[in-house]
Amino acid sequence: MARPVNEINAGSMADIAFLLLIFFLVTTTMDTDTGITRKLPPPPPEDMEDIKVKERNIFKVLVNKNDRLLVNGEPGDIRFLRQEAKEFLANKNLRNGAVPDDRPEKKEVDIPLLGGTVWISKGIISLKNDRGTSYDMYIQVQNELAAAIRELRDEMSQNFFGMKFSQLTDEEKIKSIQKAIPVAISEAEPEDIGGN
């Protein structure tokens, strides 16, 4: 009688399993969640007085329940919001604190990597929405504002370090740019600005 059939070599089974393992490892980490990260302000203390901010330092964005925009008191359009926000926050000259009357004021901050003391804008974007605003619209507005800040940071980063902000790897450089152009978006305490 013939000998029993040789066992199939199971050595490569491990490799196949490894391949599968690696495939799952990679694919499961790939679908990372994406989103817009924001920091909420701490709740205001009971006895807090209203902080007075000069009119010229605020860029007001209101979104009503019909998803219409009111930008600085005038009906606005989401398509132009990015440009408007950019113009408002733009800071042409870091070395000079003098600004025309219709532009937001500046303050002095010490940022060594940008060449010592620089003047940064005190401008704040104030965002206010109605309870009836759709989430989609809210995100679109947040997105446009974030884009404005990102573009400004990119420009400044390009000027000083010769590459886009997102390409910076040096922690210090990233911090410097962030300091020079902060995410100055303030969300108003919620209140009904137009019935639901």
Binding site: A14, G35, R38, L40, S134
Partner: protein, 152 residues
């Protein structure tokens, strides 16, 4: 090695695949375990300025959207873990629970990811945000899908 005689027999590698398979299953199971079964319908809005959420282990999810079961109506509701929040105050408990599961040092780094349906009204989102502020969970992330910047 000496030829003939007793010579050490080769260690059988036949069980190696099984070990690897066990690892494989372990990873498959643990990676899908984190996210809760969705009870609400969520179509995230799209945005261009998205960032990746780092450190998934430090993220808690709050889902807001209309229930999948039609019988529960079409109003947006909040889902925490595997169940609906009956009251906005449930968020406090949810956040505290999330904190107690992490190390002391990592608690400051916990991000709360808001997965909200795009047609949901801001009212409920604002309520959630207010509650998060009260509890001290300041790091939030509005979950959005990546939109390719075409016209600009």
């Amino acid at each position: 090695m000496k030829k003939g005689g007793k010579g050490t027999p080769a260690i059988s590698t036949a069980s190696l695949p099984d070990i690897i398979f066990m690892l494989l299953f372990f990873f498959m199971v643990t990676t899908t375990m984190r996210e809760a079964t969705l009870l609400v319908k969520i179509t995230p809005p799209q945005a261009t300025e998205v960032q990746k959420l780092e450190k998934k282990s430090l993220v808690d999810y709050i889902y807001i959207g209309p229930p999948l079961k039609k019988a529960l109506g079409t109003d947006s509701r909040i889902q925490l873990n595997d169940q609906f929040a009956t009251d906005i105050k449930d968020i406090r408990e949810f956040i505290e629970l999330g904190r107690s599961q992490r190390d002391e040092a990592e608690r400051q780094l916990i991000t709360t990811s808001l997965k909200v349906n795009k047609d949901t009204k801001m009212g409920i989102v604002t309520d959630v945000k207010q509650e998060l502020r009260e509890v001290g969970a300041f790091k939030i992330n509005y979950s959005t899908a990546k939109k390719l910047d075409t016209q600009k």
